[in-house]
């Protein structure tokens, strides 16, 4: 994953830093999930007393982790893409394509955020709950989806501003890269 924020304005660098920071929260969630599951295994074998709520909490942790982690990945342009077309274009067209992709991504995230907010409104008015080992109002888990989508939309905007600046500056390179299961 390449870091590409050498040419950021105030909003862009603030946004990237915010995405990075929220991602660290995701990393902490990941570590806590790990400890919880491992502890539950140990308690089950050593004391025959498993943590009954461990799986449910870890499942929510997984949802949180995914949605708070994705903006950090986007800030670092780490989301894997198929760059067959991009690799075959000249640098100017590559930069133009980048701008286009940023706009589509941003619009999609705005739309998804809106849908998620509608859904949250619905589960709150219905008082919907998840119940497994324990019962929890659905919005407590769901809120991270519009939150993540909103952050992704803002991060796409930040990337768009950076890519627009690169487009105007013929000297800058467009860093084609391959992501994947590193």
């Amino acid at each position: 994953m390449t870091r590409s924020r050498e040419d950021g304005g105030t909003f862009e660098s603030l946004m990237s830093r915010f995405s990075d920071g929220v991602g660290v929260v995701g990393a902490i969630i990941l570590v806590l999930m790990l400890l919880l599951i491992a502890l539950s295994v140990v308690l089950r074998y050593a004391f025959n007393a498993p943590i009954t709520w461990a799986d449910q909490v870890a499942t929510y942790g997984l949802v949180y982790m995914t949605f708070v982690g994705a903006p950090r990945v986007l800030a670092r342009r780490g989301h894997v893409s198929v760059d067959i077309l991009e690799a075959s274009l000249n640098p100017h067209r590559q930069k133009l394509l980048r701008v286009f992709v940023d706009v589509i991504g941003m619009l999609y995230c705005i739309a998804f955020c809106y849908l998620a907010l509608l859904e949250i409104k619905r589960v709150i008015t219905r008082g919907a709950e998840f119940s497994d080992a324990f019962t929890v109002p659905q919005w407590i888990v769901y809120w991270v989806i519009p939150f993540g989508a909103a952050m992704l939309a803002l991060q796409f905007l930040a990337n768009l501003l950076i890519d627009l600046r690169r487009l105007r500056n013929p000297e800058s390179t467009s860093d084609v890269q391959f992501g994947g299961w590193a």
Binding site: A27, S40, H79, F112, A116
Partner: protein, 431 residues
């Protein structure tokens, strides 16, 4: 609208969305959104996209993905991979083309500690290839075996592909993980035979110095004992059926951390760095999974999934032909897409055919998994090949790598063939 039209539209949309270079996770999302809008035409009905985004990732089995990733990240960042390569290097010392054999045996050990072949390939390519080239190995023996051995990580548990395929297709993840071991042994043997056959043309590689004594080799082998703990925590625990794959992945990651810490204590800063690295990779993969349920729901509503499997059943003269067609599609997709996307696109098709035609899910699943892994080392867009290009000396060109990977693509397909002919290869470890 017939399922064929719907399928062609969806495939066309996918090609455009991915071709533009939209990140895969968002390309699937955009496609779902447009398809759902065309199908339902109201904003209210679109809320199912949000529910399915939630239920796609709210799956305890998927926790094995971040845990396996964490395990591999700790292993590499703590420098344990060098310990493994050194020890195996000492054991093999003095054998003709020993360095190439080291690639295979290290590939097996790394595969038992890491879940992704790209990671294993980069470690081997970074540490082993430059050293072998310096020692005068031809490219076919310094680079080739690394390409082949790296893919063993796809098959030996932990394996991210098995977790994804299992959870998306509803196959037992434990069984799918264990079923990878047999094919991994077959593939390793094929690579070993290749090295043996190739190295006969280079007798000068024999004179690498005197081999160590047997005691010296055993001492080197003992250096590997610490990594046995995490390997046991994953593969052993799943084999003995004492914990779920999720629990095994958590204990495996914790065991790797403990071993790594004893080997070389880490600062909090390093630990946080490892955790954020693992988070980035996990979030990237899981964010692709976010769109998976809505995608397969759309395949179901439009009748694409059932139409396709119905069609295959009517044209394919036997189960084997149907399997071969699905595998060929996955292989073709793998030439142009990353492995997660191939799994994403092809698993609903695979699952449909599997259920309709009553095919053994573990047998089919593991062949599918090998084929998906082959995509990683097949030109023109195999990710492993690009990862390797990034870490080997610059005089190895992309053209060299494209040429060198071909025998190993053939070995992967041969492994699929052997597994197809002898299902026991996949199933001998299962109860």
């Amino acid at each position: 609208m017939s399922w064929v039209t719907a399928g062609l539209l969806l495939a066309g949309g996918l090609i455009i969305a991915l071709g533009l270079g939209l990140p895969v996770a968002f390309a699937f999302g955009v496609l779902n959104l447009i398809a759902a809008w065309l199908l339902f035409g109201s904003v209210d009905a679109l809320s199912f996209l949000v529910q399915s985004a939630y239920s796609s990732v709210a799956n305890i089995y998927l926790s094995a993905i971040p845990f396996f990733i964490l395990m591999g990240t700790i292993f590499v960042r703590a420098g344990l991979s060098t310990v493994v390569l050194d020890a195996i290097g000492k054991v093999m010392h003095g054998v003709r083309a020993s360095g190439s054999y080291v690639a295979v045996f290290s590939g097996i050990v790394l595969g038992a500690l890491m879940g992704a072949s790209v990671a294993s390939t980069s470690v081997l390519g970074k540490t082993l290839t430059p050293e072998l080239l310096k020692r005068g190995y031809p490219k076919s023996l310094a680079v080739g075996p690394v390409i082949g051995s790296g893919t063993l990580a796809n098959l030996i548990p932990p394996s991210l592909g098995a977790v994804l395929i299992g959870s998306l297709a509803g196959i037992s993840i434990s069984d799918l993980l264990l079923a990878g071991i047999g094919p991994a042994i077959v593939l390793s043997c094929l690579i070993l035979i290749y090295i043996f056959w190739r190295s006969r043309a280079y007798p000068e590689l024999e004179s690498e110095g005197v081999g160590l004594s047997v005691a010296g080799r055993l001492r080197a082998l003992l250096k590997l004992t610490p990594v046995l703990l995490p390997i046991f925590c994953v593969t052993g625990v799943i084999y003995l059926d004492i914990a779920t794959p999720t629990e095994a992945s958590a204990t495996g990651a914790l065991a790797t951390f403990i071993v790594a810490y004893l080997y070389r204590p880490m600062s909090w800063r390093t630990i946080l760095g490892i955790a954020t690295d693992a988070l980035e990779l996990s979030a990237m993969l899981l964010f692709i999974v976010v769109s998976s349920k809505a995608y397969s729901q759309i395949l179901a509503i439009t009748g694409i999934a059932s139409g396709f499997s119905e069609f295959l059943r009517s044209v394919a003269p036997s189960v084997y032909v149907a399997i071969l067609i699905v595998l060929a599609i996955a292989l073709l997709l793998g030439c142009f897409m990353d492995q997660t996307s191939v799994i994403f696109v092809a698993v609903p098709l695979m699952a449909g055919v599997m259920n309709k035609m009553n095919i053994d899910p573990i047998w089919f699943g593991i062949m599918f998994s090998i084929v998906v892994g082959t995509g990683g080392i097949s030109p023109p867009f195999g990710l492993n090949l690009f990862a390797l290009k990034g870490v080997v000396p610059p005089d190895i060109s992309m053209k060299d790598i494209y040429k060198l990977c071909l025998p190993f693509c053939a070995f992967e397909l041969a492994t699929v063939g052997i597994t197809m002919a002898f299902p026991a290869v996949a199933k001998f470890l299962l109860n």
